[in-house]
């Protein structure tokens, strides 16, 4: 930890010194480690048959070196020498090299020698004792034939390379099942010739027969020409060309590349080194695997195992290997490959190479797309909502203006008022004047100012909707009615700060209401006049009676006065009767005038029993004229109700008239009307008018109160409608039912008004 801190603490001072310190630290660590193992390092000599440019040996040496360093428990010194036996084949050269090696390794003899390529094995067999006596040897790349021919001493073991041409052919057959022609290429070198015989034998032993062309022992130029003429659908097996028929030396892997370039048909070979140069592939061993096996054997020997007990062994690491690019070039299908075949040079897709990054990128892009999409959708929604809001606002403004409604809102805390332009028009506020609370209140009619402010205040306090109708005075002294509706809204509790509402111009409504009220009064009056018109004859009779009595009394008095001794008592009686009868006539006229008068409703105490009596007396002559018997059954109590006596009398008049009309076809002897009052106990007085007429027909039931519905020939259909309206205006109820004993009963109920004490 301290060292670490020291190193990196220093490193912060200067970048250059940092690398140097790291380097030295590593060297020191290595030295300490080396010291902790054996003082004498083990030595392995890699003996290459050719020079370092030979492709087949370098990968084996690399594979072995890596394996040794990986697996070894102790330090190694790995030496390498290149015998360069390809060009130098004479014995003199061999002895010179042997002498050189002996001198080179005399002080530090190797513990194990690994030979690379089969050519190095005969050399070390011949010169082993010169270089390092009885040193264990691990060979590589030795064919079974060579191994058998050499008859090796006991402590020489290694890896036998068996090139399986049969399996390579099998691969070719699998990939090109339709192929009928087979071309086999081999050169004229030693190894090449060995391959020639192996190939012939292998092909002859195979079950499937091809039309075989052996391109052996050709000059390179001839070979290239022939290869370029091979038909497209043939199979070409390339073995080795170390030398052509003219004695030129070649590197087989390079030749494979050249021939693959010119051949129309796919090339196969049993060598891994060719793969990548253009051939399709074959059943091969990788050179690294050979190196690894050799290293394993070496390690066994170094661990103390007797090399004589270790038998030479084949390399287990053989497999089908193909070049993807070549497959593509010759349109060979990957699906036809045997299982576990290794496909090389397959351009790794971005997916396989940067899977994590790709996933991350895709995820990021997807997330971003989602976010962008969501934002777009949200924006769309917002735009739509804004559009809708704007449309809605426009519609509302239009509707509000069309309906003569002004919208407003008042902020109590800031004393700010917002109102639509229509409010300005409603209140007649000048175009340039500011819309303030005072501007609105200033045009309210002085009599309604209190109503307006109280209503708003109430709404603020109770948070309940408030409605009030106020008059406003427009600049031209025109008065208009405006209905204010207000509702307060508190934000986050506490006292409400916002008050919103509408103004509606209800001038027309108000005038219509007034007109309707006026018309109703007018109609009521007309109905009274019409009823009285119907009764005019009877009423005239009612006035005529007292007039008759007056006249007769007066004339009687005159006659009495003419007599010699006038009876003064009788004359006085006559005069008193005149006064009495005059009062009587006056009462009738008074009653009539009341009924004929047009006027507003009054609220006065009305004695219901008196009302009944007065009404019946008004109808007296009519009842007599129609041969109708009337009986009054009035509860002995002074029922007082609050209302308009004229209107109530009109109701009673109407009901009795209806009863009379209903009995037009009733036999004279049965014509009877009973008017009764009840209700001293209940607090509600019931006035019932019962007749013995035709009653209410089933069709008429329920419709009798409808305006303009009538069962009479000359009726207007307004009588009962008006009666009902009047009774309802007196907080009462009017009903009309059939009596079980025949005829109809009309009842109206009115609340009894309790008069002040001593007034009853």
């Amino acid at each position: 930890m301290d060292l670490y801190r020291c190193i990196f603490g220093v490193a912060t001072f200067a970048g250059m010194t940092r690398t140097r310190i790291v380097w030295w630290s590593l060297v020191l660590l290595f030295l300490f480690a080396a010291e902790s193992y054996a003082a004498e390092p083990r030595r392995v000599l890699m003996l290459h048959a050719f020079n370092y440019t030979f492709p087949a040996t370098t990968p084996i040496a690399d594979g072995a070196r890596k394996r040794l360093l990986e697996r070894s428990p102790q330090a190694f010194e790995i030496d390498a020498d290149f015998l360069d036996l390809a060009r130098n084949t004479d014995a003199e050269y061999e002895s010179r090299v042997a002498t050189f090696l002996r001198a080179k390794y005399e002080k530090r003899p190797p513990d194990v020698v690994i030979t690379l390529d089969s050519a190095a094995l005969p050399f070390i067999v011949r010169h082993r004792d010169d270089i390092a006596p009885n040193v264990p040897v691990v060979f590589t790349s030795v064919s079974p034939q060579t191994h058998n021919a050499l008859r090796l001493p006991a402590n020489i073991t290694g890896i036998i390379s068996e090139f399986n041409l049969d399996k390579t052919l099998a691969l070719a057959e699998r990939l090109q099942p339709e192929a009928s022609r087979l071309f086999v290429i081999a050169g004229s070198g030693d190894v090449d010739r060995r391959w020639q015989s192996t190939a012939r034998k292998t092909i002859e032993d195979r079950a499937r027969k091809f039309e075989v062309t052996y391109l052996f022992d050709r000059s390179y130029a001839k070979l290239v020409e022939e290869v370029s003429n091979i038909p497209r659908d043939a199979i070409v097996i390339f073995l080795t060309i170390f030398a052509d028929s003219e004695g030129n030396a070649f590197v087989p892997a390079q030749v494979a590349g050249f021939l693959a370039a010119v051949s129309p048909a796919p090339l196969y070979a049993p060598y891994d080194t060719y793969i990548g140069n253009g051939i399709v592939g074959g059943f091969v061993e990788t050179l690294e695997s050979v190196g690894v096996r050799a290293a394993d054997v070496t390690l066994q020997i170094l661990a103390g195992k007797d090399p004589a007990t270790i038998a030479p062994q084949p390399n287990p690491g053989q497999s089908y290997r193909v070049d993807h690019r070549a497959m593509v070039r010759w349109k060979l299908q990957e699906s036809k490959l045997p299982r576990h075949a290794a496909v090389l040079f397959k351009e790794p897709t971005i997916w396989t190479e940067f899977r994590g990054a790709v996933i991350a990128a895709i995820v990021i892009v997807a997330v971003q797309s989602l976010i962008v999409g969501a934002l777009l959708v949200q924006r769309q929604r917002r735009l739509r909502a804004e559009n809708l809001l704007r449309e809605s606002e426009e519609r509302m403004t239009f509707a509000a203006a069309a309906a003569n409604i002004g919208l407003w809102q008042f902020d109590r805390h800031r004393n700010e008022l917002w109102a639509t332009e229509h409010c300005r028009a409603l209140f007649g506020i000048a175009r340039d004047a500011p819309l303030t609370r005072d501007a609105f209140l200033s045009v309210v009619h002085p009599d309604d100012l209190q109503t307006a402010t109280q209503s708003l205040q109430k709404s603020f306090e109770t948070e309940q909707p408030a409605v009030s109708d106020v008059r406003i005075v427009l600049p031209g002294e025109e008065v208009r009615w405006v209905r204010m509706r207000a509702r307060s809204r508190s934000e986050g509790g506490g006292r409400p700060g916002q008050l919103g509402g509408i103004f509606i111009d209800i001038t027309e409504q108000k005038s219509a209401e007034a007109e309707a009220a006026l018309q109703r009064l007018e109609v009521e009056h007309l109905m009274r006049v019409s009823v009285l018109g119907e009764l005019s004859g009877s009423i005239a009779h009612e006035v005529n009676q007292p007039l008759t009595a007056i006249l007769s009394n007066a004339q009687a008095a005159l006659h009495l006065l003419k007599q010699d001794s006038p009876d003064l008592v009788e004359i006085r009686d006559a005069l008193e009767d005149i006064v009495h009868e005059d009062n009587r006539a006056g009462e009738v006229i008074h009653r009539l005038r009341g009924l004929l008068k047009k006027g507003k409703r009054k609220a006065e105490n009305v004695n219901i029993n008196d009302l009944v009596r007065s009404t019946i007396s008004l109808l007296n002559s009519e009842l007599i004229g129609r041969d109708i018997n009337v009986r009054l059954d009035l509860e002995n109590s002074a029922f007082l109700t609050r209302g308009d006596s004229v209107q109530l009398q009109q109701v009673l008049l109407n009901l009795v008239m209806n009863a009379m009309d209903a009995m037009a076809s009733t036999p004279t002897a049965q014509r009877f009307i009973l008017v009764s009052t009840r209700g001293a106990q209940t607090g509600i007085v019931d006035v019932r008018v019962k007749d013995r007429g035709h009653g209410i027909g089933p069709k008429e039931n329920g419709r009798v109160f409808e305006p303009f519905y009538t069962t009479k020939d000359h009726g207007l259909g307004l009588g009962l409608t008006l009666c009902s309206t009047i009774i309802q205006a007196h907080q009462g109820r009017l009903t009309l039912v059939n009596d079980e004993g025949g005829g109809a009963i009309a009842v109206f109920s009115l609340p009894i008004h309790q008069p002040a004490i001593g007034n009853a």
Partner: protein, 204 residues
């Protein structure tokens, strides 16, 4: 006026009844006022000379109905109507039924007295006629059956000879019957006899 004539007065209106009674009494009539038609009919006495003054429209029984009752028997009490509603159909009906007059309220004293006196005159006349007929009837009842037969034939305008032939006797006998019959009846001329026979409805 030495003897007071009776006036039956019927009106349902007490004020009017009282006033009219007072007026008629001041004129010297004996007024019997009734506010109820039924009570009036119960107490009505045909023997009392006089007339009835009736209101037309009254509850229960109106004036015209009372008139019908009053004129149903032999004796026809003269009726004067007083009405508040002087409609023509009612007045025509009343007059056809023999009313003396049909007065509209308020009624003037002169018109009322005039009508009442006419009614009283009518009543007097009819009562006089009635008693005359009664005495004549009594005289007729004294005649023998033969004289009665002769009377019938004389009234029919037959000559004595014709009558004798009809009855199977001689002219002379007829003459005797005829003179005795005329004597009994107190009639001198045939014309008077015919007039009397008409009144008594004896022509058959």
């Amino acid at each position: 006026m030495t003897e007071k004539l009776t006036v039956y007065l019927v009106d349902d209106d007490p004020g009017v009844l009282k006033a009219l009674s007072r007026l008629l009494r001041a004129e010297g009539y004996d007024v019997k006022p009734y506010s109820s038609p039924q009570v009036f009919l119960e107490e009505h006495d045909v023997a009392l000379p006089g007339c009835a003054v009736l209101d037309v429209s009254m509850p229960g029984l109106d004036g015209l109905e009372i008139q019908r009752v009053l004129t149903a028997g032999d004796y026809h009490r003269p009726v004067v109507f007083v009405t508040g509603k002087g409609d023509i159909p009612t007045s025509v009906r009343a007059m056809k039924a023999g009313a003396i007059d049909f007065l509209t309220k308020p009624v003037k004293d002169r018109e009322l007295f005039d009508a009442v006196s006419r009614a009283e005159a009518r009543d007097g006349e009819s009562r006089r006629l009635h008693s005359e007929l009664e005495s004549m009837q009594a005289k007729v009842s004294t005649l023998t059956p033969r004289e009665r037969e002769v009377l019938t034939h004389v009234v029919a305008g037959r000559l004595n000879k014709q009558i004798a032939g009809e009855l199977g006797t001689v002219e002379k006998t007829i003459k005797v019957h005829r003179s005795r019959m005329m004597e009994k009846l107190g009639i001198r001329t045939v014309a008077d006899l015919v007039r009397m026979a008409e009144k008594l409805n004896l022509s058959k």
